[in-house]
């Protein structure tokens, strides 16, 4: 296997993106602060039209690919500024803290728009007549009115969907076969033999959902005290049994490739597609055949692009949403730097024809329907704070 090439590629892809507060983050923070200052100055200065400023995105990584950004700027002449999320709730709290004045577009996972941001008046609705035709052309699961794009009363369209997949666990198929992974599901990590042979990709909110699954609990249902105790037992056992925990998927993929570990909890196409594209096809995203969440063990996430309730909204905010739904843009988003992921628009022949066989294989496209059908849709974890405190305590007390 051509490891060296992979390592180089991974380093180019900025392995430290997730490695914690780095100088880059600090600079980014300063940049954002300056942006905030500038924005408030802009609000205060009357004659300065909002059209003169750039379009501002608070987003996950799919939309910051240069092809996506430059494509829009070339077509419209509008410059784009962006900031990447650290987590969904982190960015929601930014809007709550008054950053609605800064951002035009927010791109988050599915539950936040309808359950939090719309009720709290942080986003505005989309014109159904203009955007629902796009849903018609998407994969059947998005048939309008699509639940996660709609307000709780099913009246208002809150965003458009694009990237979609499940996020579960990853194995090295040289050691653990695909079928073993699927059959054993989350019990794989409950097996005492696995102790010291797996890692945890520390995307904390996902870890908590997956630990619920491992404890035989539905992650998105309120838990009794007994169930919380079961969660705690599983969380502590899994954390203590983990050989390494890292919030950097490159580090954890390297450990997997080099035999330090044989599997990791909280992983999926999002974390392995780049490595798979480079030919390391023994990294494999597993969705269990069955699990405790209505019989399912996988968790399906859908990104939703919404328009922020900005008092000084950029006039092109809605145009941007239409732009990203075009087949060309969809392809760029689906293959954005280092993250190859399925998009809801892949039902369209002119889009799917753009993908090479390797690209489709990188995100295990042949199993996409299996994954979606064996997964529950991502939702807000009702006891999140309680479970999170248990989770961090278990991390601190790891033995």
């Amino acid at each position: 296997m051509d490891h060296e090439k992979l390592l180089k590629k991974m380093l180019q892809n900025d392995p430290v993106r997730n490695a914690g507060a780095t100088r880059r983050d600090v600079l980014k923070g300063i940049g954002a602060g300056a942006l905030a200052l500038g924005a408030s100055a802009g609000v205060m200065a009357p004659g300065l039209s909002s059209a003169a400023r750039e379009l501002r995105l608070l987003t996950w990584d799919g939309y910051v690919d240069p092809r996506v950004l430059d494509g829009y700027t070339e077509a419209s002449g509008t410059a784009i500024k962006y900031e990447l999320h650290t987590s969904d709730p982190d960015s929601v709290n930014k809007l709550r803290a008054g950053e609605t004045k800064i951002w035009d577009i927010i791109n988050l996972n599915n539950p936040w728009a309808r359950q939090i941001m719309w009720p709290e008046n942080l986003i505005v609705e989309l014109e159904r007549g203009r955007f629902e035709p796009y849903f018609d052309k998407m994969l059947p699961m998005f048939k309008p009115p699509y639940k996660w794009s709609m307000s709780l009363d099913n009246e208002h369209l809150l965003g458009v969907c694009q990237r979609v997949d499940t996020f579960d666990f990853v194995v090295n198929t040289d050691v653990i076969s695909q079928s073993t992974g699927k059959k054993e599901g989350w019990d794989l990590f409950n097996n005492a033999d696995m102790s010291g042979r797996y890692g945890i990709l520390a995307y904390d909110n996902w870890n908590i959902m997956h630990m619920c699954m491992g404890a035989g609990l539905h992650p998105f249902k309120t838990k009794t005290d007994d169930q919380v105790a079961k969660f705690e037992e599983t969380a502590r056992r899994w954390i203590n049994g983990a050989k390494l925990i890292s919030d950097d998927f490159v580090a954890i993929n390297l450990a997997l490739i080099n035999g330090e570990i044989d599997a990791y909890i909280s992983g999926g196409t999002y974390s392995v597609s780049a490595a798979r594209l480079d030919g390391i096809s023994n990294l494999y995203h597993v969705v269990p055949e069955s699990g405790p969440a209505d019989g399912k063990g996988g968790i399906n996430w859908i990104e939703l692009n919404s328009v922020v309730n900005n008092p000084d909204l950029h006039p092109e905010a809605f145009d941007w949403l239409e732009y990203i739904l075009q087949p060309e843009t969809s392809y760029w988003v689906a293959t954005a730097g280092g993250f190859l992921l399925p998009v809801g628009q892949m039902s369209q022949p002119e889009l799917i024809s753009k993908f090479s066989k390797e690209e489709l294989n990188s995100f295990q496209w042949d199993e996409f329907d299996y994954r979606i059908s064996h997964a529950v849709e991502y939702d807000v974890v009702p006891d999140y704070n309680r479970l999170y405190d248990i989770y961090t305590a278990a991390l601190r007390e790891k033995s």
Partner: protein, 297 residues
């Protein structure tokens, strides 16, 4: 009746003070310092007394966050961070002293290129350097494991994801911060005094203890303190090389500010870290009388 000059009021004195050219010219910097350095600290301090999971300055003041820290297992993170920092300082002092001695006293014109070699890695991001260590130490395809197997046919076990590898990372990253103050300290030792001590009958060890160590002590202490303070706040080493098998205090703080979205608890942890570090540093500084050590008294 004789008139007495009016005693200047405090306000007048302050106004006079602000008319001093020195104070006047320093004012912009002072304001910048207050806004940029003291301000955030005050905000953090304020947040640490707010109810859990609040995001603005509203709600009643409470010490609940501190009680939570003391009643739960956060002490583990404090022990690890301060323990790592202490061991890092000790190891780095032992490693840095001979190198510093060479740079200050032995290498002569080779000291400059040698220093350059030591400084060059600092131009590379700390995370990338630690990532390099990870590639070096990995089992299987790692550079060390690969070389050992190729050259000697030995299979090395796993070297990563333990407190040892975390410590290695800390020692590696913070060595320059220990080294260069010690180089400065040792270059303050006059050759004549070393010669004189030898001439007066001191052997190598006695020269070290009686002359070099006391004279270089300011540099050694500053290097040690700098390393200690930086290592207490270190996070990337435990994450990348330690495989998060240990949650250091900076990581615990990061948890609270990101996924947990519990800024008040994170602030309380930060305040405690600053306070403990501050007390330790002040204690060390009190034992170090710079004037006495520099021979000005």
């Amino acid at each position: 009746m004789a008139t007495r000059p009016a005693r200047p009021t405090t306000v007048a004195a302050l106004a006079g003070w602000f008319r001093e050219p020195g104070v006047l010219t320093a004012t912009p910097i002072l304001i910048f310092f207050l806004i940029g350095f003291v301000g955030p600290l005050v905000i953090v301090l304020g947040f640490s007394f707010l109810p859990e999971r609040t995001f603005g300055f509203h709600g009643d003041w409470t010490v609940e966050n501190y009680l939570q820290i003391f009643s739960e297992s956060y002490y583990i993170s404090f022990v690890w961070s301060f323990g790592f920092a202490a061991v890092t300082v000790v190891c780095n002092l032992l490693i840095a002293y001979p190198i510093a001695y060479g740079l200050a006293k032995v290498f002569g014109r080779w000291a400059a290129p040698f220093t350059l070699i030591l400084v060059m890695p600092l131009f590379v991001s700390e995370n990338v350097r630690l990532f390099g260590w990870m590639l070096f130490l990995l089992k299987g395809g790692g550079i060390l494991a690969g070389s050992m197997e190729f050259l000697f046919g030995v299979e090395t076990g796993t070297l990563l994801y333990a407190s040892g590898s975390t410590l290695l990372g800390l020692i590696y990253v913070y060595l320059p911060f220990t080294l260069f103050p010690i180089v400065l300290g040792l270059s303050m030792v006059p050759k004549d005094q070393v010669d004189a001590a030898g001439d007066l009958g001191a052997n190598r060890w006695q020269i070290f203890r009686e002359i070099e160590l006391p004279i270089a002590m300011p540099g050694i202490l500053i290097g040690g303190l700098l390393t200690f303070v930086l290592a207490v706040g270190a996070i990337a080493e435990a994450k990348l090389l330690g495989g998060q098998n240990v949650i250091v205090i900076a990581h615990a703080i990061q948890h609270e500010f990101t996924y947990a979205q519990n800024w008040p608890l994170g602030s309380a942890l930060a305040v405690l870290t600053i306070v403990i570090t501050g007390v330790l540093v002040l204690f060390a500084m009190r034992r170090l009388d710079l004037d006495m050590l520099l021979g000005r008294r």
